[in-house]
Structures are given as C-alpha cells and as structure tokens.
C-alpha cells in the first residue's frame, strides 16, 4: 500500500483511495492512543521540523505529540523567536535547517503555496499544516475520520459548513476531500463571507442557513476569525450570532443523531452556543483526539525510507 503523493500539500486532487488509506491507518493509530503505552518505535531516528510562521497552539501541539508518539525527534521553530525577524527568507531558512540533516518538515505559513515552494528547494518531505487561505489538509482528514467513527460512513452524508468560508482553509480542504469521498457538502455564511466565484470549490454555496441545515447529518461551525475582520464585511458579533449562530433552537430541528463539529478554538456564544458545544451531539473533543491519530498516520505513510 502506498500513497500516490510524496508530500501532503492539500486534499484537492487527492484520490479517494489515498484518503481511505490515511483514514484506515489513522484508525489503527487511534488504537495505539488507547493503550497505557502510547508510543511506538516506528520513526525512531527521524528528525521532523515544525516550521510555524503563523501562531498556532493546537495544530502545533498535535503534530508534536504525533511525532513524539512515533518516537521521532521534533524540532520546533516558530516565527516569533527566529531569524526571520532578521530578514531571512523562507528559502534560506529551509536550506539552513536542511543542512542540519532533517527528514520531514511540517509547515504553517500565512502565504498560500508556501509548502509547495518548499518542495522546490529541499529534499525533505513537506507536510502542510495550513497555508494562507488555501488548505489545511490534516484538519479535513481528522474531520472525516471523526465523521466515519461516529456515523460509520462518509458516502451520502450531508455536511453543512457554516461560517467565514472565504477566510477558511479548513472549509476548502473539507470541501475538496469530502466531495471526493462522495459526501454532500454545502457551504453557508453571510454573503460577505462567501467566495466571490461560488462554483470554484465545486460544491453548493448559500447564505440561507435554514437551507444549509435541512437534512444535515453533520454541522460544522467555523470560527469567526474576529482578528481578520474589518467592519465592512462584519458589522457586529450580535448580528452574526442572531443570523448565523448555531444554538439549541436550530439543533432541535435537526436529525436525532446529527453531530456538531468545530475546528476550534470556539468563540462561545458567537458561532456556536455554549450549551450546544457541550451537548451530546458535540464531537469537538473527539476531533482533537483524532487529530493526533491522523497526523501519526500521515507521518507514518510519508516518512519511510532514507532521507529524501
């Protein structure tokens, strides 16, 4: 069994077979995480650099934990404490890190395409941990793993993704990956939060939340990225909550086994009501647990062989 790709840059164009292979492998790693001894020796001797040019807590910790549980040696590099403050470019940074004999690079960057750029200037395996407004493939993979775990399948399920679609790489990776897996995805948000070219993701887009929620098996709320909003596209928190916030009232109209997801961190009381986030329908903490298993699977599948 093998992945078609050498790097994990995104889910756009990834085959259903590869997605299934990653999800099946992740299920096995989920088993490892349930043991008393949660470490396996598989990646012993592999050095993995976590190159984070954007702030991140959970994704970086999740990758670092996945690396440690595979017995790899993680090396953390965050922009705030590094020489990019001194003006060093991405290419020089990666060439310097590579000179220290590393095997894999997990990268998060505010520019879309930065992970692809790295594949052009190093031999190391590159894993995208979020690039600009482009993709966040491991998040979409852990979302699909969680759905499969809770509902038993992916194909034919309806997923409503609600929030700031335009700024969301999570929505983009999920739209591509879920469509490949035969899921029925609908993206929803205020008109100012939607991509200008509605058909560019290949799934329906609407500003009508009732239409998006109708018949949904999965509801995924996205964080309103308050730090990215200007007053022109985002009038007020109150207005957003009233029109697009997901509360107990909206939950009560959905299927009895509907699951509620959120990539975190949650703005409680804005996109998601607190009592829904803590309800039995919420699988938000399962997503976090599965994130480690999915990242272990990706590292395992891409990390074999000698350097490069």
């Amino acid at each position: 069994m093998k992945l078609q790709a050498r790097h994990l840059l995104g889910l756009e164009g990834m085959s259903g077979g590869d997605i299934n292979l990653i999800l099946d492998t992740a299920d096995s790693f989920y088993g490892v995480l349930q043991r008393d001894v949660k470490v396996v020796p598989t990646l012993r001797g592999k050095t993995i650099v976590n190159l984070f040019y954007e702030n991140s807590t959970r994704t970086r910790i999740s990758f670092e934990l996945a690396e440690k549980r595979l017995s790899a040696s993680p090396l953390n590099f965050s922009a705030s404490t590094s020489s990019i403050h001194k003006g060093e470019g991405l290419r020089d940074t990666i060439r310097n890190i590579e000179a220290m004999k590393i095997d894999m690079v997990v990268v998060r960057h505010s520019c879309a395409g930065a992970p692809y750029f790295l594949t052009q200037c190093t031999d190391a395996v590159i894993i995208n941990a979020g690039d600009g407004l482009h993709e966040h493939p491991t998040q979409a993979l852990l979302d699909m793993m969680t759905i499969r775990q809770k509902l038993g399948r992916l194909e034919g399920l309806k997923v409503a993704i609600i929030g700031d679609i335009f700024h969301s790489r999570v929505a983009r990776s999920n739209a591509w990956g879920m469509k490949t897996m035969g899921m029925d995805v609908i993206l929803c948000g205020p008109p100012t939060f939607l991509p200008q070219h509605h058909d560019c993701l290949g799934v329906p887009v609407t500003d009508n939340i009732d239409e998006a929620l109708e018949g949904a098996d999965v509801v995924m709320l996205l964080r309103v990225q308050l730090e990215r909003q200007s007053s022109a596209v985002f009038p007020s928190v109150h207005e957003y909550r009233d029109r697009y916030g997901f509360d107990i009232d909206r939950l009560s109209k959905l299927k009895k086994d509907v699951i509620i997801m959120h990539p975190g961190p949650i703005n409680r009381g804005v996109e998601l009501a607190s009592n829904v986030a803590d309800s039995e329908h919420s699988v938000i903490l399962d997503q976090v647990t599965n994130g480690v298993a999915v990242r272990m699977a990706v590292l395992y599948l891409l990390g074999g062989g000698e350097n490069g």
Binding site: K2, S28, T42, L43, G305
Partner: protein, 184 residues
C-alpha cells in the same frame, strides 16, 4: 507467484492444529491465565481455531486477541519511501499482565516479525510468559528465535514463499510452497 508444491491440505492442517492444541494443554493447567493472540493476518484465524479447540476440549472460554506488529518492524527506514506496509488492526481487549500468552503465526522465517511482535506485546503489558506457536518453520533465521509449538518444519530456498490459505477468507484450507517469479 507460482505454486510449486502443496505442503498441507485441509486435513493435515487440522491435525497439526489439534496436536499443537494438545501440546499447549499438556504444558498449561491454569487455563484462566491462558490467552491466545494471533498475528495479522492469517495467524489471527489459526489463533481462533486453537482457542476454539481448547474451549471445546476443556469447556472454558479462552480470551483471544489480534496483533499487528507493523509499527515495530525494523525495516521502516530501509524500505522504499511511500511503500509502507499497511497498518492492520491490533485488538487485545483484555489485560495481558501476569497472563500466559500463546502468540500464533502461520510461518516462522527470519524471526524479525516475531521480534517485532514481542516488543508490541510488551507495550500492552507484562505477561508472565509468552510462547510461540507456528504452523510452519521454513528456516533461514536471522535472530535467536524458535517456536515452542510447531506444526511442521520444511526446507525452503530464501527466494521462495510459503502461503497459507484459510477457509475464513480464502475459501479453502491449504498450505503451499510458492516461487517468486521475475514479474513479481
């Protein structure tokens, strides 16, 4: 791959498993402390059959588990990148601490898979004893490992393969010596 020679048919295979079962029972009287763990993939079915034979003879229900040692293999960094063996299910739904674990595999060859399995088992707990039961020992050991219970010992060439078919997934019980062809 091409079939060279049949080593066991369904009857011979059942006789071998029955004899192994008797040998296990001769050496272990504390049945509540006994459990059988099969190695992925065909060892799983052999383990279940041995457990069923013990259960039928002794009127007890034996705990059985499934072990995949892929993550403990020693050839991860020597394989071609992106051609990793598939990680299969490990399911040992009981405490193996202080238990006697009979580890069951179909073929004993270099001993490296068994070495990996021992490490994997140790990460699940600390058994009182681990013993190894295999259907076929085909020689060519690269590590100091031997079987405690053995169906049959055969002489093979390193480039040959031994392939077990089990009725649960292959529609028939049989054991074959195979030749790897150039095109494989």
């Amino acid at each position: 791959m091409k079939k060279l020679e049949q080593i066991m048919d369904a009857h011979a295979l059942d006789l071998a498993l029955t004899r192994i079962t008797h040998e296990i029972l001769e050496r272990h009287s504390d049945l509540p402390a006994l459990c059988v763990v099969g190695m992925q993939s065909r060892g799983v079915f052999l383990a279940r059959r041995i457990a069923a034979k013990i259960s039928a003879m002794e009127k007890v229900t034996l705990k059985t588990g499934t072990l995949d040692a892929t993550l403990y293999r020693d050839d991860y960094r020597y394989r071609m990148p992106f051609r990793q063996p598939q990680v299969r299910v490990t399911d040992i739904p009981f405490d193996i601490n202080e238990k006697t674990v009979i580890l069951v595999d179909d073929v004993l060859f270099t001993g490296r898979t068994t070495r990996a399995a021992l490490d994997a088992l140790m990460d699940h707990g600390r058994p009182r004893m681990i013993q190894l039961a295999v259907l076929i020992d085909r020689g060519h050991r690269e590590l100091p490992i031997r079987a405690d219970y053995l169906g049959k010992e055969i002489t093979t060439l390193a480039k040959q393969e031994v392939a077990l078919k089990v009725s649960e997934i292959d529609r028939e019980d049989s054991l074959w010596l195979m030749e790897i062809e150039e095109s494989d």
